[in-house]
């Protein structure tokens, strides 16, 4: 039996897929989701073999969902569904990514399910420009995908090999580069220090403080500017080079 998960924000579209799939013998629908975030949650619980992903969905679109799905221990095959989306279709055709055009035909659906396979790294890469700014970050944890909404992130701090992602409740380790994150989220985060990106929405204000040692761990007697943050007691040191940012705020 092939385990299948449906993700589409429109109830009639989900129903149509269920109707069609009920005529195919070897598949069973394990769950259906109304958006990408829900799809990931349900994929964690049900470990489907194939995910049918609508591209346009609220909260998290299909393209981003496909990227996060890859962090599952056994990534499911992905078949995109869409009514009309010129840019995405071009990219899909170029990289041989599976998709179905709505209204979906029974025969097409059947063939797509038979040949469905997980996305290749190259195909995933081709999808990145289609969702230029992720809404969530994902971490693989014991074979499951853990989602962190970007809106909850207070700061990113570069450590030796990883990035620490700080939210009000927890800390996570992320395997990405700070420069890359800055490029992607430059509108909502500012670089207060060479190793730290801070969410502008979480900055309460700035204060000059006597620090026993600066960010590099060297002793220093000078007073330094630090950023005070909402919801957490931590502060972030503002490097001298970035002090002009304080003035412009």
């Amino acid at each position: 039996m092939i385990k299948l998960l449906i993700a589409d924000d429109e109830a009639p579209a989900r129903k149509r897929l269920r109707d069609l799939l009920s005529d195919i013998n070897e598949v069973t629908i394990v769950a259906d989701a109304k958006n990408g975030q829900e799809a990931l949650k349900l994929a964690n619980e049900n470990l489907p073999d194939i995910v049918l992903l609508d591209i346009r969905m609220p909260i998290m679109d299909g393209i981003e969902t496909a990227q996060h799905l890859q962090k599952l221990a056994k990534p499911p095959a992905v078949i995109f569904t869409t009514a009309y989306d010129t840019y995405a279709l071009q990219a899909f055709d170029l990289n041989a990514v599976d998709y179905l055009l709505k209204p979906i035909r029974f025969e097409r659906l059947q063939t797509a399910i038979q040949k469905a396979r997980a996305l290749l790294p190259k195909q995933l890469e081709a999808l990145v420009p289609l969702s230029p700014q992720r809404t969530h970050l994902s971490i693989s944890e014991r074979g499951r995908v853990l989602l962190i909404p970007v809106a909850d992130v207070i700061y990113f701090r570069a450590e030796l090999k990883y990035i620490t992602v700080k939210t009000a409740e927890k800390e996570y380790l992320l395997e990405e580069s700070l420069n890359h994150l800055e490029q992607e989220f430059g509108k909502i985060f500012i670089r207060l220090h060479r190793n730290c990106l801070v969410a502008q929405a979480y900055i309460l204000g700035y204060e000059k403080r006597q620090l026993s040692h600066d960010a590099e761990g060297l002793l220093s007697s000078e007073k330094q500017w630090v950023a005070l943050l909402k919801n957490i007691p931590d502060t972030v040191t503002v490097s001298r080079r970035q002090q002009h940012l304080i003035r412009s705020n």
């Binding site: 924000d9 429109e10 009639p12 579209a13 129903k15 149509r16 346009r56 009514a83 009309y84 209204p103």
Partner: protein, 330 residues
């Protein structure tokens, strides 16, 4: 169309505004030529204006009054009529001020009449050129090119929704297909003439019934149209594309959906259409929206010139579009 309607429409605010601008530009130019210093310029322009401005307003007023008479004449007779009226008004005005003796060193009557006819000729020539640029043929062609087009996204999702109904709710599927037929009949019709507002509203309701089918409880619509004049004439498909935008950019990206508010009222011979929808700032798709707005704006201009306007604004997560157009009855 009567031949005489080629005269500039002197009852139109835009036309009168343009005349005011042209004449004042000529006055300013004359003052610049006649003066050596800035102080000089100030004196000269005040002197000219003290005669020219009241005269200009008087001319426009008389022309406004006699416009309905002028349109009954042939084109060349109408032009001659305009010249005659301007010259008569100038002459009369000259008599009045020379008797009142308020002005020292008045120019001679002949000079005044000469300048008045030159300025009238410039204005009329401008409107002649303007009319050629916006000749009915050109306007027709542009209106045709600007015909509102429905998003393919909507068409295919809609067919998909109807397909999902066929097996279990055939009656609903029938209604939906009928709504679609009506909608596409209007979309594919020749949409160059004005239609009653009531007709556009009926179309919007059918369109929304189809969207409701897809989005269900995520889409709520609030109509505030008790003061609406259903007989007012508007360009077709002015409101529908705005609602389509509101659904596509406002409601669809929201998990729980939201409410679109449509308000229509009249005030001082103007119709106001106000549409607002929730708006997710994180959403990145704006381009399609701007194109639809530009299209509607251009069609409004072709139909009503400066008398219609379209404004859009966003604040506190709410997006608002307001269209104002003159109240024209059937």
């Amino acid at each position: 169309m009567r031949k005489s309607s080629r005269l500039p429409n002197l009852h139109n605010l835009g036309v009168n505004l343009r005349i005011l601008i042209i004449v004042n530009a000529i006055i300013a130019l004359t003052a610049i030529v006649l003066s050596n210093h800035f102080e000089d310029f100030y004196v000269v322009i005040t002197t000219i204006s003290s005669i020219a401005q009241p005269l200009l307003l008087l001319c426009l007023l008389v022309l406004y009054g006699s416009y309905s008479l002028l349109t009954k004449l042939r084109y060349w007779q109408g032009l001659l009529g305009i010249f005659t009226i301007v010259l008569l008004v100038c002459s009369g005005f000259y008599d009045l001020i020379s008797h009142l003796l308020i002005y020292s060193n008045l120019p001679s009557r002949l000079r005044l009449l000469f300048f008045a006819s030159i300025i009238t000729a410039i204005c009329l020539y401008y409107f002649y050129l303007h009319q050629h640029a916006y000749s009915p043929a050109v306007i027709e062609a542009r209106l045709q090119a600007l015909q509102a087009r429905i998003r393919p996204h909507f068409l295919f999702n809609c067919i998909n929704a109807v397909l999902s109904l066929i097996r279990t709710q055939p009656k609903q599927a029938e209604t939906a297909l009928e709504d679609m037929a009506d909608l596409f009949r209007v979309l594919m019709a020749d949409n160059r003439d004005l239609v009653p507002l009531g007709q556009e509203i009926a179309l919007c309701r059918q369109y929304l019934a189809l969207e409701k089918l897809r989005l269900d409880e995520r889409l709520t619509v609030q109509w505030k149209i008790d003061d609406m004049p259903p007989d007012a004439m508007i360009p077709p498909l002015i409101l529908q594309p705005l609602i389509e935008n509101a659904v596509y950019h406002g409601i669809e990206p929201l998990e729980k959906g939201g409410t679109i508010t449509i308000q229509i009222y009249t005030s001082r011979k103007e119709i106001h259409l106000v549409l607002s929808n929730p708006y997710n700032e994180a959403s990145l798709r704006h381009i399609g929206n701007k194109m639809a707005l530009k299209n509607i704006k251009e069609r409004l201009t072709l139909h009503f010139d400066l008398e219609a306007s379209l404004k859009s604004s966003q604040s506190n997560g709410e997006y608002r579009v307001q269209i104002t157009l003159p109240y024209k009855e059937v």
